[in-house]
Symmetry: C2
Subunit: 215 residues, 2 copies
DNA sequence: CTGCATCCACTTTGATACTG
DNA sequence: CAGTATCAAAGTGGATGCAG
């Protein structure tokens, strides 16, 4: 028994025992956006010490949240991915991120915007009602990052990297660094984007990824 | 700059900077259930070192999540309570707790059930549709703990302690220690409760605090 | 190269004792 | 009641080493 346990029979305490340690939930955020290898995670979580990443991955694997996979043919090597239990953390991650957004100040330049956080913002702002019955695939390129949002019959998949199916519309934004969700939406509304594909899908994008009421 | 900061412009990272440290979110859980004094928190969070509680409360106050109040007339002394920003964490706490519940094993005896976690479970299982238009107040007494659930015109308030308004129905369960939400509901269904007030409100309670579909 | 393991300085935590 | 003081043990951050 480690000292990490709280000794309470309580869902919150259990959750904190499993994902409450430093960096753990950020690793989960990265893996929600896409399975990744060890070095991908090191890159996407600047500042994480390599031994800490190693330890967290072992703990998360032990907890049944993360699994090691052998990467398919061309790349080979280890791929870390979320298990079903790990995917179950999505709602909690999105809810925490929504609260955290209210606690964020202005975007200082120099502060990194993790592409995965924008992918999570797309999931959080996805408007189920507006997307009902829709099928469309977008790819968003900002600076050196690539994101996708694929809606299949009203169901969203979103993450970091090129779209898993051929995108209908590619949205490219010139920028020195990754932009936040809000900045991306602003760039779209100010027409500061290049498009490859049917332009009409741009307004669809805005409609589908604007949350219902306000906030 | 503390080393605690992740240096990312991301809601999740910000949230973790503010409430990601050990015990912090459990303190928030306690204060969601009721404002409390320092020694209440020490009692309700068995195992927390007093210096850690002291440090967390200062950090949470600094972050604008918790505020110190001077307790009113009879008791006097310091009362810790959540600010509006702190109350905003409710959704995140409930979502994390829901996930954590799926990761809980069987209730070993000896594991403590924090009364606040049952109060949170009432909030999480509250069925808005069933409660629409309803007004009723319940008080639940299990072992030495007292909880309340007050529904006013379909709106729920729930927490630890005696009901803030006179309860319509008092549900008393004989037990050696606090029971979980599931155990409380089972005791009610097995008729292992004593009632003070109109019995009909017991089935209303079950109806209102059973989540819609399953899970 | 990828995928870690090791080492060390420093911080945080846990446990307990003590004070205004 | 509401904390502070003290100290050992564990965890973190940063640099580097090294096998496949």
């Amino acid at each position: 028994m480690r000292r990490k346990e709280f000794g309470q029979y309580c869902g919150l305490a259990r959750a904190l025992e499993l994902i409450g340690e430093r960096w753990a939930l950020l690793v989960v955020r990265e893996l929600l956006a896409r399975p990744g290898r060890y070095t991908d995670l090191l890159e996407d979580l600047p500042g994480i010490p390599t031994n800490v990443l190693s330890t967290r991955l072992k703990e998360l694997e032990e907890a049944g949240i993360v699994e090691r996979r052998v990467a398919p043919a061309p790349q080979r090597g280890v791929l870390y991915a979320l298990t079903e239990a790990g995917e179950g953390l999505e709602a909690a991650v999105l809810t925490l991120a929504l609260w955290g957004n209210t606690q964020l100040g202005e975007h200082q330049d120099g502060e990194l915007v993790p592409p995965s956080s924008v992918a999570m913002a797309l999931r959080a702002t996805f408007n189920r009602d507006e997307a009902s019955g829709l099928t469309a695939a977008w790819e968003i390129r900002v600076a050196k990052a690539v994101l996708y949002a694929v809606v299949t019959d009203g169901q969203l998949r979103s993450g970091v990297g090129p779209a898993p199916t051929a995108p209908d519309l590619v949205i490219t934004i010139e920028a020195d660094a990754m932009l936040t969700y809000a900045e991306v939406m602003r760039a779209i509304k100010c027409d500061m984007v290049e498009l490859t594909g049917p332009q009409s899908l741009l307004s669809t994008f805005v409609r589908v990824f604007t949350p219902p009421a306000s906030a």
